[in-house]
Structure formats: C-alpha cells, structure tokens
C-alpha cells in the first residue's frame, strides 16, 4: 500500500520555492498594478492610493510602450526563426560525422551560451564601436565607409539581435544534437538504398522526426525573445531614441529608473499575459497538429 502523501513530499520543496519566487511575485505585481505606488510609498504607505485600471489605460495610451511592444514583436518574429533555423542547420551539419574534429567543434559553438552577459557586452561593444571597433576596421580595409552599428535606429536593432542570436544558438544546438541521436539509423539507411540523396533524407526523414525538439526549442526561444532584455540593456540601454527598447527594458526603466512601481507592474502583468497567450496558442497548434 503506497502512501498517498509520497508525491506531495517529493514535489513540495521545489513547488514551495517556485511559488514563493515565481508565482507569488506576479500576484504581488497584479495587486500593485492597481495602485499609484512609487518610491515615496516606502516613506509612508499613506502615499499609496488605489487607482483601479488607470495604469492600464495610461499604458495603452503610452507611445513609448507601443514602441517597445512593436520592437519586441519584431525581435520575436525575426529572431525566433533565425535561432531555430540556424541552430537546427548547425546541429544537422555537426551530426554528419562523429569523428574527433566534429566533436571538438561543438564546444566552440557552445562558448557564446556560457559567456556571462557582462563579458558579452564588453567584447561586443569593442567589436561594434564606430571609430575604433574591429568591424569597421575590417570594412575600412576594403574601402567601405564606417557603419554605425549601435547608433543607427534600424541597424542597432539588427546589431543587438545578432548578439542575442549568437548567444541563443549554443544551447539549442545541443538540444538538436541530442534529438538527432534519437533518429534511428535504419530509417536513413533504408532511404539510402532507395536512392534518396542527403537533402531528401534530411527533409523527409530527419526533420519530421525532430518535430518535438523543434517545437520545444520554438516555445522556449519565443519566451526568451518576448522577455528580451540583456543585450539591449548592456549594449545600447534601449537606444538610440528607443529603437532597441523591448518591453522588458521599458518595464525596467519605469520601475527602477523612474520608480513608478504601479505603472511598471501593470506593464509586467500585460507582458506576462502576452507570453502566456502566445505559449498557449503554440501548445494548442501542436496538439491540433499531431493529436497526441
């Protein structure tokens, strides 16, 4: 006779921590979002008033919020396919051979994923610098004009996005490489005997078998882009003129630079809702796709 309490004993320590440091804060944010709380609240709680949905109304009328939302959307729409395709393609190529050279290369592709963001910002700022950066120096060798990597409103989006893609592929390559180990060799051999070429085998056999991995990577990558923060924070601080301000950067600035906690909380709740809805849609689409 098994004890009915057993599973609860196993889940409760982790659940307790998750609820305390993950779920509880968003509930607090939801409560705060209905107030006009700012830093003066800490001097006296009488400085806090209930304002209902005012923060939400202001938020949806705030052009800066819409700009941040637009940027985040753009980053996600371009960035998710970029990371998924790039890491899948790299993994497929790395999987072509199991010899020592190919194995050693994996570590190189993983380096960006393990580099601390502080270090990332240092290195890339030097690479991108308009006057003294390496990229513009290389361009100058072929006679090209210097490029304003982080100062041009459109190019800066590309530049911070590129760093995020660079950092984001490593872990996904590993996930795909792992999933590739689950593709039965016999299928591929059978297809070879039938005269299928490499392309054909990749597209008709391998990729369909990687469906779940692709789905998993897409979902986690989408969430990561919707919470996009680190790269613009350290490289451009959301500039120039808000061109690289994501919703997370917007929230951070409202909360920690302007100390408008009520307003920032309203933004957090909206961002959380957006992420939840998009993730649920992805889950629903997948269920419709293969009826598990």
């Amino acid at each position: 006779m098994r004890n009915r309490l057993t599973p609860y004993l196993f889940v409760s320590p982790a659940m307790l921590l998750l609820i305390t440091f993950g779920i509880f804060p968003i509930l607090v944010a939801a409560v705060i979002s209905t107030t006009d709380m700012n830093i003066s609240a800490f001097a006296s709680w009488s400085n806090v008033d209930f304002v209902g949905v005012d923060n939400y109304v202001t938020l949806f009328g705030d052009p800066d919020f819409w700009q941040a939302l637009g940027n985040t959307g753009l980053f996600a729409v371009v960035g998710v396919p970029a990371i998924v395709v790039l890491s899948l393609a790299t993994a497929l190529l790395l999987n072509q051979s199991q010899n020592w050279f190919f194995r050693a290369l994996r570590s190189f592709y993983f380096i960006p994923a393990i580099t601390a963001i502080v270090a990332v910002s240092l290195v890339w700022s030097y690479l991108y610098n308009t006057q003294f950066g390496l990229f513009n120096y290389l361009l100058s060798l072929v006679g090209a004009e210097p490029v304003q990597w982080l100062s041009d409103p459109w190019l800066s989006k590309f530049s911070v996005g590129l760093v995020a893609v660079w950092r984001g592929t490593g872990l996904n390559i590993i996930i795909f490489l792992a999933a590739l180990q689950g593709v039965p060799k016999e299928y591929l051999e059978a297809a070879s005997i039938d005269g299928a070429g490499e392309w054909r085998k990749t597209f008709s056999i391998t990729i369909p078998l990687l469906r779940f991995a692709i789905f998993f990577v897409s979902v986690t990558t989408t969430i990561a882009w919707l919470q996009f923060f680190d790269e613009p924070f350290v490289l451009t601080d959301g500039g120039p003129l808000g061109a690289t301000t994501s919703v997370s950067i917007f929230l951070y600035k409202e909360g920690f630079r302007l100390n408008q906690f009520g307003y920032a909380s309203a933004g957090s709740v909206v961002l959380f809702a957006i992420i939840a809805v998009i993730t649920l849609i992805q889950l629903r689409l997948r269920r419709a796709d293969d009826e598990y």
Binding site: S44, N129, Q131, F132, L150, T236, L241, K253, N259
Partner: protein, 408 residues
C-alpha cells in the same frame, strides 16, 4: 475548483505582502556596536578602506557597480535595510530623500563642526542641496566640466589658444573638422544631459523659475539649443552614440571635448606620451560667463541606522582637508572642502588649478525628484531626435516643455 485555487493564492499574496512590509518596519534606534557599513560607487572600495584605516572607526566598505546603483538602492529602500552611510550622486538625492531613505542632519550639524556648511563651496553645501528644506547629505567629492583640448592639433591648424567662448569653439570645431574624412572638431556625448544645461547657464539663463519649478521655455535655453544643434549641423561632432571620448581624444579624432577631471586622469594613464600636447581650460563662456556643472557625490546617513553618532563621526573624519587630499591621491576625485580645494600643492598642477577655479563658479543641477529619469532623459530625447533623425525642432521642444514644466 479553479476559481477557489486562484482566490486562495490571492489571499496568500496579500498576507505575504503585509508580512514583507511589517518585517521591515520595526527598527531599534539605540546606538549599536560593530562595524559601520558604507556603500561607495564604482571600484573604489579598497581605496575607501585605506582612507579610513586610521580613523579609529571599524568600517565595512561595499562597492556598488555603477550600472546597478538603481536596483541596489531601490531594493534597499523597499526593505528599509540599507547601509549606515552611502555615497549618493547629486542627481539621485531628491528621489531618495523623498523616499525617506536619508536621515535629516540639520539638528546634528551643530555637534560636528567639521560638517558645517561653511566648510564647503556654497554651490553644493547646506541649502543648495537640501531637499524640502532639510539637509540630508554632506558633500564628499566634487567633479566639474572643463574644456580639454589637444593643443598640438589646434596649433597645426592655426589655432593658438583653446576657445574661450562658445562662438569661438563652434568656429574652431569647423576648422578642425575640415582636416579630413572621419575627423571632428568637438564631441557631444549623447548621454550627457547636463551639457545643454551648462550651455543654458553660460548663456545667462536658468532652467527653473523663481518658485523652483522646472521651466525650459526661455530665450537662453533656445540659444543653447541653437549651439547644440548648430554643432551637429556644421558636421563638427560625431553622430554615433558609441564614440569613446578618451580614445577619440588620444587619437586626435575629436581634439576638443568638454569633460571632467577623470578624462584628464585617463589620458595621463593611457597615453603618457601626449604629455604637454593637451591641456584643460575653463568651460567656454557665453553672455552669462563660464558657468559649469558642480557634479560629484555626497555622503548621506541611512534613515534607520543604529549607529548615528559613529556615522557622523566618520563623515566628519573624511571631511578633514587632509583626508580629502588623501582621497584625491588615491582616486583622482577632487575634494569638496574649501580648505582642501585651496591647497597649494593640489593647485600646483595647472590642470587641477583649472578644475578648482571652475568649481568656484560651478552650480549643481536643480534638486528635483527624478531629475535624471524625467528631465534628463526628456531633454536628451528631444535634442537627439532633432540632430539625429531630423525631427521638427519646435514640436520636439514643445513636447519636452510640456512634459517637464512645473516639476519640482
């Protein structure tokens, strides 16, 4: 079923919030024993420890990275558990005083003659940096803006002295830009919100009205905007936001820069071979003279410290002229005590003489809550939109005036 779960969780949330709050309310005011915790900005923690080694007061120094001051201070204020003493930039003073994080010192100063406002330059002491009429901080280190020029490059281009007025600076910058592709005459940091205000002061204007409300809609500010946008229109300044001023100065790409003493120190450290080929000179003047920024940082006492007396004793200790000079020796940050600023040895360096002279007439930014966040950001956004994206000048400025008018 689902609904009950949600309401239970909401209940927990509210109780938890209340607990978090009550947890930080109670604090005993009695004088405690033990080391004082001092928060200093940047990597000068070790140096501060050295400075106070002989003070007879046990001190624990915590260095806070520049980029993370906002998070650190906000969370400390939120919980009420902070250090005993903290270094705070003048631009954040009003915000954190309004949050009640800083102990008002008016009643204490009488017992600590070393902290009397008369010891410090009038521009930064006492009433000049009081918030709501209360003194909440003591000046600690000072910083100002002066003009740095590469005299060798200027001379090669027929300019025999650093420009003394903004008009001269604009003309010289044009000359220097004509040196060739990728060369500039001057550099405007796109993050430097005080620069347009220094320009306004130099034009003889103010950015707050007689009642202490923010007001930029003045003819002098318009002159400053002409100057700022004019330098861009001439093509005399780089338009990229990631221009490195130290590298730009050393390489000669931007041979004139308005910056602080740290630039002087950076140049001597990184390029000793340029010695004698550059100099500091007073900020260019306009109709209102050469009026620069009094920046730097103050020290405040955390509102619920349990070691008020020891904290004030330490403040008095580091406000002694010899300690202030020792700090200059350790970090290159200028003193704020009059006696130290007038020190002959300090002023034997001609560049330092320029800094200390400039400080005599320099002014602090208006002490307005959220100055950085609202006014500074708004000002830079408006000006940069005009010069970088060609936004309409009148409408950009009008938006900025509306957003800031009447703040206090």
């Amino acid at each position: 079923m689902k609904r009950t779960a949600t309401s239970v969780l909401a209940g927990i949330a509210i109780t938890g919030l209340a607990l978090g709050v009550s947890g930080c309310a109670a604090q005993a005011p009695a004088e405690a024993e033990g080391p004082l915790t001092v928060w200093v900005m940047g990597d000068s923690g070790e140096n501060f420890q050295k400075l106070v080694a002989d003070s007879g007061i046990d001190v624990d120094v915590v260095a806070i990275p520049w980029d993370s001051i906002d998070e650190k201070l906000t969370t400390a204020v939120a919980s009420g558990s902070g250090p005993d003493i903290l270094e705070i930039g003048l631009s954040k003073l009003a915000t954190f005083a309004a949050a009640g994080a800083l102990l008002p010192l008016d009643d204490e100063l009488a017992n600590y003659p070393g902290l009397a406002p008369e010891n410090f330059p009038a521009g930064v002491a006492g009433a000049s940096t009081a918030v709501d009429g209360k003194i909440v901080s003591i000046p600690w280190s000072s910083d100002t803006r002066v003009l740095f020029t590469r005299t060798d490059i200027l001379a090669e281009n027929g300019i025999d002295a650093p420009p003394a007025t903004w008009d001269e600076l604009r003309a010289d910058a044009k000359t220097l830009t004509a040196r060739g592709d990728g060369q500039y005459g001057y550099y405007i940091p796109q993050w430097d919100a005080p620069l347009p205000i220094e320009m306004t002061w130099s034009m003889g204007g103010e950015v707050i009205d007689a009642d202490g409300n923010v007001d930029f809609d003045t003819p002098e500010f318009a002159d400053a905007v002409d100057l700022y946008t004019g330098l861009y229109a001439d093509g005399s300044v780089p338009t990229n936001s990631d221009f490195d001023q130290q590298q730009g100065f050393i390489s000669g790409i931007a041979p004139m820069i308005v910056s602080g003493p740290y630039l002087g120190k950076g140049i001597s450290d990184a390029a000793p071979e340029l010695d004698g080929k550059w100099q500091a000179s007073p900020l260019p003047s306009g109709d209102g003279g050469s009026v620069s920024l009094f920046a730097g940082s103050n020290l405040g006492v955390w509102y619920n410290t349990d070691q008020k007396d020891a904290s004030l004793k330490l403040l008095e200790y580091v406000s002694q002229p010899e300690q202030q000079l020792a700090w200059y020796g350790l970090t290159g940050a200028l003193p704020t005590v009059n006696a130290a600023l007038a020190d002959a040895t300090l002023n034997s360096d001609p560049n330092v003489k320029v800094y200390t002279d400039q400080l005599a007439t320099a002014r602090v930014l208006p002490i307005v809550a959220n100055w950085d966040g609202v006014v500074g950001t708004g000002l830079l956004n408006a000006l940069n939109a005009i010069v970088l994206t060609g936004a309409d000048r009148d409408s950009s400025l009008a938006t900025f005036y509306d957003a800031t008018k009447g703040l206090k």
